[in-house]
């Protein structure tokens, strides 16, 4: 018995090692949050366009994308064109301007075009904390019942969209 026991650490470690091995090379960016299956947390955020305070009620009633972005984020710039293509296809997108400067954000949208139905400013990143985002860009899919069903960290592109659009209903 004791003979077996002293080998236990070794056996456990080999098990752990194989878990880590399997995990290598998978994409850590695909990481749904603890919020999957839950409604969007309560918020009160100022709209970038109208400078008024908005809450849950202003969110679209059909399924939509919730996209965290910022002018300080180069990846968001890459993503922006793709978001506009999606917007042209009629996909509703709500933007959260994350830890950003308001004027720069307005200028950004003026020069690059606005793919968003609403842009809400989360200047202190508090809503970001509630949503568990770790950076920008990050995109959540919220279904027509207002439930978060999918999360993606990183820039959206065709490849990601193929998987993501299945959740949008």
């Amino acid at each position: 018995m004791r003979k077996l026991l002293v080998f236990l650490p070794f056996i456990v470690f080999i098990g752990l090692g194989s878990v880590l091995y399997k995990q290598l090379g998978t994409n850590p960016e695909y990481m749904p949050s603890a919020l999957i299956g839950k409604p969007v947390p309560d918020f009160k955020l100022v709209s970038l366009q109208t400078d008024t305070v908005q809450d849950q009620t202003s969110l679209p009633k059909q399924a939509y994308l919730l996209n965290f972005w910022a002018t300080w984020c180069p990846t968001c710039e890459m993503e922006h064109a793709y978001l506009r293509t999606l917007a042209k296809q009629g996909i509703p997108i709500v933007g959260i301007d994350y830890k950003d400067d308001k004027h720069k954000a307005q200028q950004w949208l003026a020069t690059r075009g606005n793919p968003y139905q609403w842009v809400l400013t989360d200047e202190l990143g508090k809503f970001g904390v509630d949503m568990g985002v770790t950076g920008a860009p990050e995109t959540f899919v919220v279904n027509s019942k207002g439930i978060i069903v999918y999360r993606y960290q990183g820039a959206l592109d065709d490849r990601v969209w193929q998987e993501m659009k299945g959740y949008l209903k």
Partner: protein
């Protein structure tokens, strides 16, 4: 040319580490003294060349040699000179070099001290350290050399250091952290040497103890600095986030704390022998695992370095060889070890056993929380993330229980303590603590949990004081001479335990009695919050060496008396195009005033976040006390005598 010298020095270091891992061991098996004696010079040679390559890389940073890819990725000509130096460990390759440099430092220190070890133990220990160096040097040379050139198209200027890392806390935080968890490699090497030579007696514990205490002290300082940095730099006023990278440094600390205690038992009583060896392996394995998790990209984290699957595979192989090999060796050898002493259920051994069990459970709790998302995914159950709620619920009660045992333990005697004596000693302070904590909780309207925690904290503090008083007042010599006679080891324990209490009080009060609020203020406006008046004087613009900033000026007063002038900043780093917030802080013994600048709202108004953090300094004060405790016990007189004789 100069960077190539660094690269070449690294290759030489690799060569010497290879020799170091092989030659002394052959010497040990063939009982060849000449081969055994090569261990020390080989260690010095290896360390020297690692130092050379470190200095060369530092020179490349100082002279803005942007033809070196790593320099161009992590530095910029506008960067202040001290950040140019600390930028060296701002990325993966450089921090790995720092890791190896520190490992070489520890190895050389062991080599210097190894003269007092038995002739065949020192070389084997050095050889094991050489194997660790070999693993990391080859990892560095084959997958992540910092000396790779970006020729022929060398950039004119660098991409700049991540602004988050441009801070005094980050200059000293990584070296201290590495000093800590790389230092555990010494305990590991001693444990492996004990397994190889089959000398699992109390003497190895004695040799290992000062090294372990010292590493533990460094790690404590490193974690404390990291927490302090996160507090003022990330701008949320939080001091611990249960981020995978924080956990990676916290797990070796927990296991190391267990190790420090179990080494004491093994040294003094000759029990827990095979457990202590396992714990030494476990502690260093957690340091390595932490390195793997941070570097391989299997977990996402705010601190994560760029992920590269080849690197991940290489580190994993390294882990399997080092940890797997050690555990296999442990399995083969540990079954032959028999305990040479017994102890009763009320003896100090039993309390320390409880300490070890709880610390191990805590370590596994953190390990499980950190790895759970991975295991979950491998089992095909989908992807999840584990957050602070899990850690707080599971961790806090066990940690509180641990502090209860911490308070009682020192009162017990080795082998056996009379239960009635023990009860008598701890009962009165317990009643006193509960009453005082109850009064405090009532006056300051704290809850039940706070009452309980505060009672435990006060009780521990009372017991620590009482223990000291009992010790110094016995006998006829008078208090001061007796107090001076107590060993440094004892004072180390006392201060570290008090530090634990101070940290506990800090954690408790910061989470129960802090206030936060977000307000919209225009220049000239004031707001009253948590008993203070915050007056927003206005915003000024200024230009730093490599950034532009808006600086808010907020004067704080209480009942009309001026308290502090806070100047939170919002910085825009032009090269990396990132915005960073610098909080405005007024530190105090019982409270911090903390202000961070949000967004400019309509007109002249700004969103401003205000915090009054009660007793937050105590968390780090306790950390510093624990560090001092560790240092003191590492410097205990009896470790400085030669320990050749086996008189433990």
């Amino acid at each position: 040319m100069i960077p190539e010298i660094g690269h070449f020095a690294l290759i030489l270091a690799l060569f010497f580490s290879l020799c170091l891992s092989v030659v002394p061991l052959i010497g040990y098996w063939q009982k060849n003294r000449v081969l055994l004696h090569t261990a020390r010079p080989l260690t010095y040679l290896m360390s020297f060349f690692v130092l050379v390559s470190f200095l060369v890389l530092a020179l490349s940073f100082m002279t803005d040699d942007f033809s070196v890819l790593y320099v161009s990725q992590n530095s910029n000509s506008q960067l202040p000179i001290w950040y140019k130096f600390s930028a060296l460990w701002g990325g993966h390759e450089g921090s790995l070099l720092l890791w190896i440099l520190i490992l070489s430092g520890w190895s050389s220190a062991v080599a210097l001290k190894s003269v007092s070890l038995p002739k065949d133990v020192g070389p084997v220990v050095l050889s094991v350290l050489g194997m660790v160096s070999l693993g990391f040097l080859s990892f560095m040379l084959f997958t992540s050399s910092p000396f790779v050139r970006a020729l022929p198209d060398a950039p004119l200027d660098g991409r700049d250091l991540n602004p988050l890392l441009q801070d005094i806390g980050l200059i000293i935080h990584p070296p201290m952290l590495y000093m800590g968890y790389v230092g555990f490699s010494v305990a590991f090497a001693f444990a492996i040497a004990a397994l190889i030579t089959g000398n699992l007696n109390a003497s190895w514990a004695r040799w290992t103890r000062p090294w372990t205490s010292l590493s533990w002290a460094f790690l404590t300082l490193g974690i404390t600095l990291g927490s302090w940095w996160a507090y003022y730099e990330l701008g949320w006023g939080g001091w611990w986030f249960w981020d995978p990278v924080e956990n990676a440094s916290f797990m070796p600390w927990l296991a190391g704390t267990a190790l420090v205690h179990s080494l004491a038992v093994t040294e003094k009583r000759g029990v827990f022998k095979s457990w202590t060896v396992l714990l030494a392996i476990f502690t260093f394995s957690l340091s390595l695992l932490g390195t793997f998790l941070v570097r391989s990209g299997v977990l996402t984290s705010v601190h994560a370095f760029a992920a590269d699957p080849t690197r991940g595979i290489y580190i994993l192989m390294l882990l399997v060889i080092l940890i797997g090999g050690s555990l296999l060796l442990y399995g083969l050898r540990a079954s032959q070890v028999r305990a040479s002493a017994t102890f009763g259920v009320t003896g100090r051994e039993a309390w320390l056993l409880l300490n070890n069990i709880l610390l191990t459970v805590l370590t596994l709790t953190v390990l499980l929380g950190t790895l759970y998302p991975l295991i979950f995914d491998v089992l095909g159950l989908g992807r999840i993330s584990v957050g602070a709620p899990y850690f707080n619920t599971v961790f806090s009660p066990i940690a509180l229980l641990l502090i209860v045992f911490m308070a009682i333990g020192p009162f017990s005697k080795w082998h056996h303590t009379k239960a009635s004596l023990l009860l008598n000693a701890i009962l009165l302070p317990a009643v006193l603590a509960i009453v005082v904590a109850g009064l405090l909780s009532y006056v300051y309207a704290l809850g039940m949990m706070a009452w309980l925690t505060l009672s435990v904290a006060l009780w521990s503090a009372l017991l620590i004081a009482k223990d000291w008083f009992v010790k110094v007042s016995a006998g006829t010599k008078g208090i001061i001479p007796r107090a001076r006679q107590l060993p440094r080891n004892y004072y180390g324990m006392m201060i570290a335990h008090l530090g634990m209490v101070v940290t506990l009080i800090g954690i408790l009060l910061v989470s129960t009695s802090s206030h936060e609020s977000t307000v919209k203020l225009s220049p000239g406006e004031s707001v009253s919050f948590a008993g203070y008046d915050f007056h927003f004087d206005g915003i000024s613009h200024l230009k730093g060496p490599n950034y532009l900033a808006d600086r808010g000026v907020i004067s704080v007063s209480k009942n009309g008396d001026f308290v502090a002038l806070l100047q939170p900043e919002k910085r825009f780093y032009s090269t990396s195009r990132q915005i960073m917030t610098e909080a405005g802080l007024d530190a105090g013994f019982t409270r911090d005033l903390y202000v961070s600048l949000g967004e400019k709202l309509s007109g002249e108004a700004w969103g401003i976040r205000l915090y009054v953090k009660a007793f937050v300094r105590w968390i780090w004060l306790g950390g510093l006390m624990m560090m001092c405790g560790g240092l003191l016990s590492a410097l205990d007189k009896r470790y400085r005598k030669t320990v050749r004789g086996n008189n433990a």
